[in-house]
């Protein structure tokens, strides 16, 4: 069984994003970039399926600028077998990403596509579900457990009320939530080995997909800030303050 794992290059999750003064977006110049954390979990899950003998090949794919090669090399160093970069400097929206992935799926014929549930830059949480619709495949979103069993996959999902398990016919889509696994660090020998793994370079035009955006960003601003309030010195003072709110009787 072949697995396809899309990965996105985003601002590192430890960096505090700064809104540009002119309101056009978030300043990414000279900012540390990394693999989207949910996508790291997706790569890890794919590797574990391969280690269990349930998968034979892992193909990592990224859609983004030339530097997204670094993100793909990280996936290869973790344990993906080969990579595809669909290179573009444009901001590609989830719908267009899903259309590109659909074409790649048609070429590669994976049985399972494992994606992060959302990217920590645009926080859309759309691509996996959209790809499911375009391919006519089942989807197990926000997964905390994935079990492949013959021609089906059981996915335990993190839902508002707790956990829910669905069974999907293969091929299928899985999107990862935080507690699915803890991604490994790539070892130095594996980082060296990843440099010689195959990384194919493509463009959106190669797939005949129109990536023109449907949404235009009119402005980006900082959220309104809360002011720090008072510090109290004792539980009694805290209770007085709580009663002043009128919410606590």
């Amino acid at each position: 069984m072949k697995l396809l794992v899309p990965v996105k290059r985003v601002i590192d999750y430890n960096v505090k994003p700064r809104v540009k003064a002119d309101g056009t977006g978030v300043d990414l110049a000279n900012v540390k970039m990394s693999m989207n954390p949910f996508d790291e979990i997706a790569v890890e899950e794919a590797i574990r399926l391969k280690e269990k003998g349930l998968a034979t090949e892992i193909v990592a794919v990224s859609i983004g600028p030339a530097k997204a090669q670094e993100t793909l090399r990280t996936a290869l160093a973790m344990g993906a077998d080969r990579a595809i970069l669909v290179q573009t400097d444009a901001d590609v929206e989830p719908l267009a990403v899903a259309k590109l992935l659909q074409k790649i799926v048609e070429e590669e014929q994976p049985q399972l596509v494992i994606l992060g549930k959302q990217a920590i830059d645009d926080d859309s949480n759309q691509t996996g579900q959209m790809l499911g619709a375009l391919l006519g495949w089942g989807q197990g979103t926000f997964a905390s457990k994935v079990e492949v069993d013959g021609q089906a996959v059981s996915v335990t999902r993190e839902v508002d009320g707790g956990l829910e398990t669905v069974k999907l016919n293969l091929p299928a889509i899985v999107t990862t939530d935080l507690r699915l696994n803890e991604p490994r660090y790539a070892s130095l020998p594996n980082i060296m080995k990843a440099k010689s793994k195959l990384l194919a370079q493509k463009t959106p035009e190669d797939y005949g997909v129109d990536i023109a955006p449907r949404l235009s960003i009119l402005k980006v601003v900082e959220p309104s800030k809360r002011q720090a309030g008072v510090k109290v010195g004792s539980v009694d003072e805290l209770i007085d303050k709580l009663r002043e709110t009128g919410v606590v009787g």
Binding site: G128, Q129, G162, S216, L238
Partner: protein, 309 residues
Amino acid sequence: MKTLVWVEHEEGQLKDATLSAVTAASKLGEVHLLVAGQNVGDVGAQAAKIAGVGKVHVADDAAFAHGLAENVAPLIAGLMDHHDAFLAPSTTTGKNIAPRVAALLDVMQISDILSVESDDTFTRPIYAGNAIATVKSSDSKKVITVRGTAFEKAAAEGGSAQVEAVSGTGDKGLSSFVGQEVAHSERPELTSANIIVSGGRALGSSEQFHALIDPLADKLGAAVGASRAAVDAGYAPNDYQVGQTGKIVAPGIYIAIGISGAIQHLAGMKDSKVIVAINKDEDAPIFQVADIGLVGDLFKIVPELTEKL
């Protein structure tokens, strides 16, 4: 403009998240609702009473029983022939279904809106709420998820909408529901509670989390939440998690106990009316957003607070 709003329901009860989505939809135009599920006649009747609703579509079919996106999305996409915008609450159900509808309609979804600026322009949080983007959609139909805490709830009573049965394309045979582990609690739901008591990693263990947080919450009639660190450490179940990747809440009072205040946690609770922080580290970032702060040992403070309230 005609809008179609997804009705969130569970065990025959309409859920509050629906009411915020109705308010957002009413800013765009006429509000129609969709109730999909099995034996959902009661939910349809409850939905028809929501103030300001013009029509309720009820799709009663075993294929829709568990809200499986594979079966529900084609039903919605079909109804969108006669509607201009589809709105779903930003719940795990809404987030699961809406993008699938959007792709079927060849529309780029607008996720988690905070406001409706005009019939094609909305604001939404990006970068875990560290920035707010104003976006304009060029798609002729809109697919939108709505952040519940950003919109007032529509009145649950007062309407008398017409109810109409609709049918979909049934079971697509792609997926099936196996089971669920739902935590049943006497406490209010996190996303609609007026008071939330939330615990962090400083609680140290699952036993101490429940021994300290639960009695305080019960004394206040509050819901219980947790930081991602506490959930990841196994002190609290995943459905307690408040934050960018968990639940977004905005209660009247949010009491953060032993929570340092990571960006992603603040993103989930900073719209609370009053934030209370109890933490032994006086430099913890949570104090930068707290209205009332108390620096000290939570293992002494929390039992004392519970006793004296």
